[in-house]
Symmetry: D2
Subunit: 126 residues, 4 copies
């Protein structure tokens, strides 16, 4: 009984900014692309920084080929990047970073935020 809660707890959580859910559409992402990005984040969080299309597709309703194509397009459109890393013993490995996604989201957030402020100011003046 106890071990079940512990196992559940050890699976862990993923914490994402609420605005990713309210704004992904305005970033021109659809639901499948959003979930692919969330799955990449979950894999990274668990220590697998370069999940394969096979691993991602296995938990999604898209085929490996479609998954591969989506990854290619997300890189091309600047949502994720593959970066090179070197381990302590000098071996090169690749990993995903979703930093470009956060940059796009922050850009959008700041445009909205400043537009809201400008409108407040205008309302005050009239």
């Amino acid at each position: 009984m106890k071990s079940n809660i512990l196992a559940w707890l050890e699976e862990g959580n993923i914490t994402i900014p609420s605005i990713l859910l309210s704004e992904y559409r305005n970033l021109n992402l659809n639901e499948t692309e959003l979930v692919l990005l969330l799955n990449i984040l979950t894999f990274i969080e668990k220590g697998n920084e370069f999940p394969t299309p096979e691993e991602l597709s296995a938990r999604m309703t898209v085929s490996i080929l479609e998954c591969n194509e989506m990854l290619r397009r997300l890189i091309q459109r600047g949502f994720i990047e593959i970066i090179d890393q070197y381990s302590n013993d000098g071996i090169r490995f690749e990993k995903y970073t979703v930093k470009p996604l956060w940059e796009k989201l922050i850009d959008l957030f700041m445009i909205n935020n400043n537009a809201a402020k400008a409108m407040d100011k205008k309302t005050d003046e009239t």
Copy 2:
């Protein structure tokens, strides 16, 4: 500058069990349904416990009609429920609960967890 980080912080986060992302497919949910559920969770977290199909559709790539239909099917299939509540002054209002989703996820988790344990035991015995 500072006010931008504060505004970002105030938007808040949403925390979800990692296994929802790895197991939604095994619950027979597709990506659009998963994101709809995540959006309902986000609305609830922000204090709007009964978001309309209009509000949900506005941040998704599905029409209001499709959204409405998806909500109906998710209720029918036992992923969400509408429950009645009464405010302090006796006014009835409705709200969503995703408790049935968590119940399904926990059921699945426990089946997997016990299967894994049974397999460990078998390996030990041979």
Copy 3:
């Protein structure tokens, strides 16, 4: 068995910026004050926006009197604020906001961040 995990899940989580834990000391907070603030956050998250010294002290190792005194000092030193709210039926109620804490933390973060950048620049120039 299942109901235990569900009950656990329903207790929920609290998500805090990691830098609050690495920087509270630099905000001149001690561990007891930090935990008091985290407890206020937890109460707010659960819908109780104005926990009493009794409620806070009940889960801490400090007396009601000490708790009251700490709250008074945290308000005086500008970490929390009590703000007035009006319910739909016009009844006034008070609630805590920890916005001042976030403002202090962001100020500190930006000083550190800019100092780090300035140092990087200096290193580049030499």
Copy 4:
């Protein structure tokens, strides 16, 4: 401006079960011990799985000596454990695990939960 939000975002969050905050006192932990445990969790989350007393003390209001003594006592009382790990190239290293803390918390949660259920049942019967 934007880079400040990104830097803030990259610092990350730490997510903890709300009941740790409401029940640490019933686990016979005081506020300083709780914050020490939260700091260990934060270090682990960031990839440093064996923070030194120096690193922990640097962000707390306790001396290195006191920190060391607290760690020793938390191990002795069964809240944390040091476990051995081997890296890919066979080098042994030590790391902390807070699994014993979660076990204690789950034990306490289940006692409370079952006591609450038993009381409900009793009330129903009368």
